[in-house]
Symmetry: C2
Subunit: 493 residues, 2 copies
């Protein structure tokens, strides 16, 4: 049971004390408390401050000893040198979980021994304290209150994130928190995020152990600069990947990269060849790119997984069809020729100038229900493809709306635009049957609209459950890695 694992408590505290907060904008601890408020955290909040009466509306306490209960968790954002004293006070109070945000400990020392780190480790040992950090950015649990959709235990992330099944553990705070700044990433629902920092006490392997049994985690993402417990990682990864996919970014192996790590965490990164071999052997999906990391997570989180690596392409433009096919084959996906009977089925509903073999090119001359419903359905039913890429789901109406903003055009145009409600209904009508078919046949479909992710039509498609990409390259590359994982998984069964 994941609730028996000690990491569970860090994500589910009923009370939290904060060192280092104030009411000002530039304070990291204040930002964390503001995140708690925004995320409608229902537990008790105890800011510790020598002078202020309240912080963000919460009554403050001069020392941790004055707090009226033993807080489940303590968060510290203070200069490194006073941290040992605070650890002691926490220990005396009976606190057993600390998140140590502050930097300036191990990363300053190249020889991996630092009296300050040793000191806090000793104190922690004495009082039975487990702690995350130092030099980390906080944690996030979107399932803190399962039945309250706006609520989270969140001291890490500014944006409101959809509840999901993807959980991250990261040795970089940027990867655990700031990647969500981009609204294009918000379709990926997050379950949990753990920024582990320098791992003086708790490491990324502990997090992996926790996620292994966590029911709210079905896809795991890791950002790794160094694995201190390589053997245990190997065991765990081998055990986990047949059930839950693990996506990993490993940064190391280059000179500049290692120098960056030296200054960042003080650790020495291992040869990337060793890591690549470990990932390959254990079925861990490896990527070098943050965007690909998120794209793979999105595809895996969506739960409709392809059974193999054959893709079908539906397009209304030749170039993108060719580029998708070309790139897919380069990355080990297959773009099969269609059987004669399937081609005949397609011919029955397409214009004569269309392409009937894979890719299916509808040309500009397309009928919306055929394009969005019938063509995908025919391909899904055929059993000849495992995934579908559909290019050309552009917001034609958005373009027309824009033309009508021009007075000269509006004066003469003999067309009117449907209302917002009509457009909403249209999107639902076009998407719903395909989403259903996709689930039923277990054939994922990737939609590509070269317009902005937040354009009206894109939003409508996304609202109806479409996995949307602006261009095809990213989704093809990500699917190729997902298919490699699925192949690995099938071999384990």
């Amino acid at each position: 049971m994941s609730r028996d694992h000690f990491v569970h408590g860090f994500l589910n505290p009923k009370s939290v004390a904060f060192f280092g907060a104030n009411n000002k904008g530039g304070s990291l601890a204040a930002i964390q408390i503001m995140n708690l408020i925004k995320s409608e955290y229902s537990g008790n909040v105890y800011p510790i401050h020598p002078k202020l009466e309240t912080i963000m509306g919460f009554k403050t306490y001069k020392t941790i000893s004055n707090v009226p209960e033993i807080p489940d968790l303590v968060v510290i954002v203070l200069t490194a040198k006073i941290v040992p004293q605070v650890f002691k006070e926490c220990g005396e109070k009976g606190v057993d979980k600390i998140i140590l945000i502050s930097g300036g400990f191990r990363e300053l020392s190249g020889d991996r021994k630092n009296t300050l780190t040793e000191e806090i480790n000793e104190i922690a040992g004495k009082y039975g304290i487990r702690f995350i950090g130092p030099n980390c950015l906080g944690v996030f649990n979107n399932w803190f209150e399962k039945n309250h959709s706006n609520s989270a235990f969140n001291i890490a992330i500014w944006e409101h994130l959809k509840k999901g099944n993807f959980s991250i553990a990261s040795q970089s705070g940027t990867l655990s928190s700031h990647i969500w700044f981009d609204p294009e990433n918000l379709d990926l629902g997050l379950s949990k995020s753990l920024s582990v920092g320098n791992e003086a006490n708790i490491d990324i392997v502990d997090c992996l152990e926790y996620y292994k049994d966590d029911e709210e985690t079905e896809v795991i993402g890791l950002y790794i600069e160094e694995l201190k417990r390589g053997k245990r990682f190997l065991e765990l990864a081998r055990e986990i990947t047949p059930k839950k996919p693990i996506i990993a970014i490993y940064v190391g192996g280059s000179q500049g990269g290692n120098r960056a790590l030296q200054s960042h965490t003080g650790s020495l990164a291992g040869d990337s060849k060793i890591y690549n071999a470990v990932f390959k052997e254990t079925g861990v999906i490896k990527t070098d790119y943050v965007q690909e990391f998120l794209d793979i997570a999105l595809i895996l989180s969506n739960k409709i997984l392809p059974k193999g690596n054959r893709i079908g392409i539906i397009t209304n433009s030749g170039g993108p069809g060719a580029m998708i096919a070309n790139n897919a084959e380069k990355h080990g996906l297959v773009v099969p020729e269609f059987s004669e009977s399937l081609q005949n089925e397609l011919k029955a509903i397409l214009p004569t100038t269309a392409g009937f073999n894979n890719p299916v090119d509808c040309t500009f001359d397309m009928n919306l229900p055929y394009f969005y419903i019938n063509l995908p359905e025919i391909l899904m039913k055929s059993g000849e493809v495992d995934s579908i890429f559909q290019y050309g789901v552009v917001g034609f109406q958005d373009v027309m709306n824009d033309y009508l903003q021009n007075e000269k055009i509006a004066k003469w145009a003999e067309f009117e635009n449907p209302s917002e409600e009509q457009m909403d209904k249209l999107a639902e009508k076009l998407l719903k049957p395909t989403m259903k078919n996709s689930r039923e046949y277990s054939v994922p479909i990737f939609y590509i609209n070269p317009m902005s992710f937040t354009s009206p039509w894109s939003k409508r498609l996304r609202r109806n459950g479409a996995m949307l990409f602006k261009l095809w390259d990213r989704s093809v590359n990500a699917l190729a890695k997902v298919c490699q994982y699925i192949e690995y998984k099938q071999k384990q069964e």
Copy 2:
């Protein structure tokens, strides 16, 4: 002189006649006329229509023979089978330039012979007509009227595009037009765009010949499915690349890709190995990805080119610094260690917990003028790097603004937000000196803000001339290819 080249007339007509337009939204010819209106085209427009009196406010003519002058250009969007007759009528009128948008000619015939194509070629030959197409999407000239910033000759692109020095010739209409749908691509100024379609009469090599001498074209982008005149391409490319970079996407070499091309243009694509060799030998920058194509174009269009492949990294977060360094070295860029004197200069203005060697990690504890002005200046002046990547130019104020939208937070927060004007001034103050230094030392700087491209701070940075990316991967990969090109160019000198 480019104005003596026959392609010039297609981009600079003083009068255009249209076949196939109406006043409805679904008509491609109507959309082209709407683009002309939106782009404030100052020439004469003559829609040809058997019944309508006016189209989009322009008086129509029943036949081309009734038009009161010989139009400089005729655009045809009609069913293939009536095109030969229209060609004849145009020839009789004295028309010598046609853009044939309609599909349904060569692409239907696998054997590359088709009576309809032969027929129009014969008619064109007889009357001395040159034509673009069939199966194309139109052309765009942002320099049609040099002194009128809103004006263009535009029958291809919906968006308003910045005037620039990048020109495209493409065998895919999507690549010549629809890639501009995405607002993230709008910092790349466009000069000209030519969609060549099936090349029955004018091919992509003609376009390249024209761009070679075109003063308004300094960077060339090509989308290639097939080169019919490989030898001439080789000659031209070899002549052009020492002066103007050429970026090319070549799609071919895979089975699915070739099948797509078969249906798209009817052509057979050659082995990608041959194309790769040709590109390498002639210094053409090759990419498989549309986004990379645009990223490379953006870097090259910006005119501040690095002198070599050494990069400096400035970051406020260790993870991104490590990822940039790692990825850069994998792609052949160099992340040099800094000299002692340079490190000492950096130490003088950075907190003690910072990283002073490359990457420079300012940590969260950063001072804005140091971060935006002094650090880049020190690196640029040092002569130790050729380009700079700066991570962490986030819109901190945008985040704070958002917190203040929460009533509970606003009630207690002891910070106020600067006004829009103050933020505008701040962005200008922080960016202007660095943009000047970048020009002066010829060291390009790439800014990375993980927030939306259209977030307030991102907009402010872009308005001040920043080359902005949401993540680092794309810009690193694109720069690596730019540096390879620069190396090629230096060898030619």
